[in-house]
Symmetry: C2
Subunit: 142 residues, 2 copies
DNA sequence: CTCCTTATTGATAATGAGTCTCAGAATTTA
DNA sequence: TAAATTCTGAGACTCATTATCAATAAGGAG
């Protein structure tokens, strides 16, 4: 599942060594398509039998984010989530404020309007956040 | 500038008392159209001659946000900003990643696409965040 | 106006995600 | 193999925000 070449490339680019701990973090990140926070990832790594310190988890995540192997999400609740879907197309997020479920959405029209707004101002777009906080169907029928 | 009736209504609704400290916080929030963090607001209140503790500033801000007298912004840098523009129409934000300047934008097409996405999923929209992180023209010519 | 009950305040401790430090361990290079 | 360099883990630290709690103030009742 995990593509070690991607990790190797990123580490090489950063002038960092390929270590078993960094591989464990990458393994765990590739293991699911969830949107987990650092603590959850840390706990899941331990669960899977590996032993990597919290500090190393954070440090490795930083490298992976910087090299776009994973994406960092800020849902505004004080802890960052990480998702591994690098290969998939760009998408934004729908977040259920009740159960915390996260889904993805993508709309070409919105994307092009964004570009138009930026262009009109004469700015350069670096990145964007577009999150729709909702109550999902399951939660609304409860 | 500050509309005390709005504050009074909100406090009444929450079953809270009208105090000079809460009025000072409201005064300061109404004094500018900036997007300040709690510490800046706290310092500006002291600057203006009033004396309100940090704890009370935070507590009052919470009440105001809850009652939609001010809006809370999360720019992903670890501290919340607050803006007072309640009377004005809905808008989202353009944030310069270099100088931190914040501008506002609004696009009806994007808003309607959002609604369409929500409707398609059968969800209920609670709120949304749409932030475009950019490099502004001033910063890009430096 | 005064007493009494209840809410508020401010100082400070606590929290929690994330970062930093540094000595010991591991790896790479000479 | 030795020397140099990078990594790691444990725990200290940071910083925004929240909680605690004794002292103070507000809002009635009489």
């Amino acid at each position: 599942m995990a593509n070690y070449d991607l990790l190797k490339q990123a580490l090489k680019k950063e002038g960092l060594r390929y270590t078993i701990q960094r591989q464990s973090v990458w393994d765990e990140l590739c293991a699911t398509d969830d949107h987990r926070d650092a603590e959850e990832i840390y706990m899941d790594i331990r669960q899977s039998g590996s032993d990597v310190s919290r500090a190393t988890v954070y440090r490795t995540i930083d490298v992976l984010v910087k090299n776009k192997l994973i994406r960092k999400l800020d849902l505004g609740d004080g802890r960052a989530r990480y998702e591994h879907k690098i290969d998939t197309a760009h998408h934004d997020h729908l977040i259920c404020v009740q159960c915390g479920k996260i889904e993805e959405f993508m709309d070409d029209l919105i994307e092009s309007r964004q570009d138009a707004i930026i262009k009109k101002h004469g700015y350069k777009l670096i990145r964007h956040i577009h999150q729709l906080f909702i109550i999902c169907d399951e939660c609304s029928t409860k």
